[in-house]
């Protein structure tokens, strides 16, 4: 064991934020043997340095690798750095698998490819490659006939997509948007393990909790009740477990609304519109006084024809509104930037 400890403590990692050499803990949550971690470098002996170089070369990296460039979705530590450095909105998007969570975020990014959007300019992103990965299947050079979005992988650690925007004019403060990149199946598990999930997903720090209802399912008489009840059940569980509450703004989005608008069976279309009103009423009756705000909107992030709609209003709302502007505390509140500890932070605040 001592030998193993020595090996761990003399190990190194290509990721600068990993403390493996100090506390023996792999930031990717890999346990010994650490060789399973793709970033692991063992450097306890000169021969290990050769191994490290070989490992590095095996990844296609030149042996004098100077700097790794950002681009993929960031981990919690890098997301915390963004939270500390700039005005940031943390947005958690939930919804059943294939309800359009990733397409929503990808489509927002894609709007800036065409020019300014909702009066905002693109300023920077630490996750350009992540966005490109999610947009590629929707472009004609993918040689596909139908646009698509890759499924979000189920990963051990939560990652975030980052977009920094600003208004024109040198004095306008830029705003960073951090989107928690969550796999749909993980949300299925939320309903059963809400408390455990809350320790991983920073719900209570979220400026906006966004819940998608798939309008394609609402059109389908066989699936609409299940789509509604799953969403209501999730929100109830998160609220009853004190994970979401008055300190959150909740946004219920009816995604893929273009499918309703373009429905040729007018009776079916009208039934869906009426059902949407029923759904809205149920949410309002159940939750209106439990959250800071409860808003509803219809969106089409990537309609089959025409331009996306609803995204400009959504973006403006997210940027300009945050529950922190309305919280009344007897002492000035320090917004938590440590996403891992935000659970403890809010738990301690509730004790006041």
């Amino acid at each position: 064991m001592t030998t193993e400890n020595n090996r761990i403590l003399s190990a190194n990692c290509e990721q600068p934020s990993c403390n493996i050499s100090r506390d023996g803990k792999c930031i990717e949550n890999h346990e010994t043997p650490l060789v399973n971690c793709p970033f692991y470098l063992q450097v306890s002996s000169p021969s290990s340095q050769v191994e490290a170089n070989t490992h590095q070369a095996g990844r296609g990296l030149p042996l004098d690798s100077g700097r790794d460039l950002k681009g993929e979705p960031v981990h919690g530590i890098d997301a915390e750095a963004i939270l500390k450095k700039s005005l940031t909105r943390l947005i958690v998007i939930a919804g059943s698998p294939e309800s359009g969570k990733t397409t929503l975020v990808a489509s927002l990014y894609e709007q800036f490819q065409q020019g300014e959007f909702a009066t905002y300019m693109f300023r920077s992103s630490q996750t350009l490659v992540g966005f490109e990965r999610r947009c590629q299947l929707s472009r004609i050079n993918s040689e596909r006939t139908y646009p698509d979005t890759p499924r979000t992988k189920l990963e051990d650690t939560l990652r975030y997509l980052h977009l920094e925007i600003c208004k024109q004019g040198i004095n306008n403060t830029p705003t960073s948007l951090l989107f928690a990149d969550i796999n749909g199946e993980r949300f299925e598990a939320l309903q059963r393990y809400a408390n455990e999930a809350a320790k991983v997903i920073p719900f209570r720090r979220a400026d906006h909790f966004v819940l998608l209802l798939d309008s394609e399912k609402l059109l389908d008489l066989n699936r609409r009740h299940q789509e509604k009840s799953k969403a209501i059940m999730l929100l109830r569980r998160l609220n009853e477990a004190n994970i979401l509450g008055k300190e959150n703004y909740v946004h219920i989005l009816f995604s893929k609304w273009d499918t309703v608008q373009s429905e040729t069976d007018k009776i079916r279309q009208e039934e869906c519109r009426e059902y949407k009103k029923v759904v809205q009423r149920e949410f309002q009756q159940g939750f209106a006084d439990r959250f800071g705000r409860l808003e509803f909107a219809e969106i089409a992030a990537r309609p089959n024809q025409g331009r996306p709609f609803g995204l400009d209003t959504l973006l403006t709302y997210w940027v300009q509104n945050t529950p922190y502007q309305e919280r009344q505390w007897h002492t000035p509140i320090k917004r938590p930037t440590d996403l891992k500890d935000c659970w403890q932070f809010f738990a301690s605040e509730d004790m006041k």
Binding site: D64, G66, E116, M121, S124, S142, P150
Partner: protein, 301 residues
């Protein structure tokens, strides 16, 4: 312009994806700097790199022949891709290095795909005081959504393509995204307080007159970037606290060699073929290809 860009030794990087006119710009610049008749305010003191290759390019440029495309290292490993021009101002007070880390542009595709800089490149960036960034006038910089042509392909779809597993291909990303990525990464390494200067060079500017679509006219380089590379344009404008930019439209050949060769060959001074357009310069159109270089370095201000 602060004096920091007029210190005794300054380094300027020239970067751009493959086929963005770097070689043609370079050889035209080299001609002007070497030419007594051109009366340049800068002169070459030394050149590092494959001078035989440079001379060959120069001969072709002078004869109004299309320059052979600079092949990537993998296809022609014998040619050195890095070229460094060591210059001096006419008054002898300032020395400048203009570095082309990779004339072929393959290096920048590799940076985008591999997400890694070699130490040698990182050191180049840290030591540089500004950038010239190249893009080609007649390339598509904006991605086109499938939904934009959905009505055209409806009914013609084949079943197999969409069922294939997805493998992300970074080379398919739009050039404007790659350029923004380059600039972001360079900005992160420039940690001093003074904003850096970035000159955006739109190569083959002579082709722009044919680009106007639906009656829209693109008359200036700034209008080109705003309309045809809007993601890049937003980045440049939104980061005006960290970088100062100018956009130049440059035709280093002077015209289309297939159509205008006879006219272009008649210039007794080849440098008079060159066209440099920039709204922010004193003369919005000139033949002085050193303008973007001198602006980035703050020479003559």
């Amino acid at each position: 312009m602060t004096k920091s860009n007029q210190k005794s030794s300054s380094r300027l990087l020239m970067i751009g994806l493959p086929e963005t006119g770097k070689s043609t710009f370079f050889v035209a610049l080299w001609h002007v700097l070497n030419s007594i008749a051109a009366n340049a305010t800068l002169k070459i003191t030394r050149i590092e790199g494959d001078t035989g290759y440079v001379q060959g390019l120069h001969d072709m440029w002078q004869a109004c022949e299309p320059l052979a495309r600079t092949l990537p290292l993998s296809q022609e490993p014998s040619i050195t891709r890095e070229i460094i021009l060591h210059l001096e101002t006419a008054d002898g007070k300032s020395q400048i290095s203009i570095v082309f880390p990779d004339l072929s542009g393959e290096l920048y595709e590799q940076h985008w795909s591999s997400r890694n800089w070699q130490m040698s490149y990182l050191n180049l960036v840290k030591d540089s005081c500004g950038l010239l960034v190249f893009l080609m006038a007649n390339q598509q910089h904006i991605p086109i959504p499938i939904t934009d042509i959905a009505s055209l392909i409806a009914g013609t779809e084949e079943e197999t393509t969409d069922e294939e597993p997805f493998e992300f291909d970074p080379t398919l990303s739009p050039s404007q995204v790659k350029l923004v990525d380059f600039l972001q990464c360079h900005l992160e390494e420039w940690t001093d307080e003074h904003p850096k200067r970035v000159a955006v060079v739109i190569s083959a500017w002579d082709k722009v007159s044919t680009l106007g679509q639906h009656g829209t006219e693109i008359s200036t380089p700034d209008a080109y970037i705003c309309r045809l590379a809007p993601f890049l344009h937003q980045f440049l404008c939104a980061n005006c606290d960290r970088l100062i930019h100018r956009v130049y439209g440059i035709s280093a050949q002077g015209g289309d060699l297939k159509i205008d060769r006879d006219r272009l060959q008649k210039h007794s001074q080849p440098e008079k073929r060159i066209r440099v357009i920039c709204s922010q310069e004193t003369q919005s159109e000139s033949h002085d290809i050193t303008l973007p270089v001198r602006w980035v370095l703050g020479i003559g201000e």
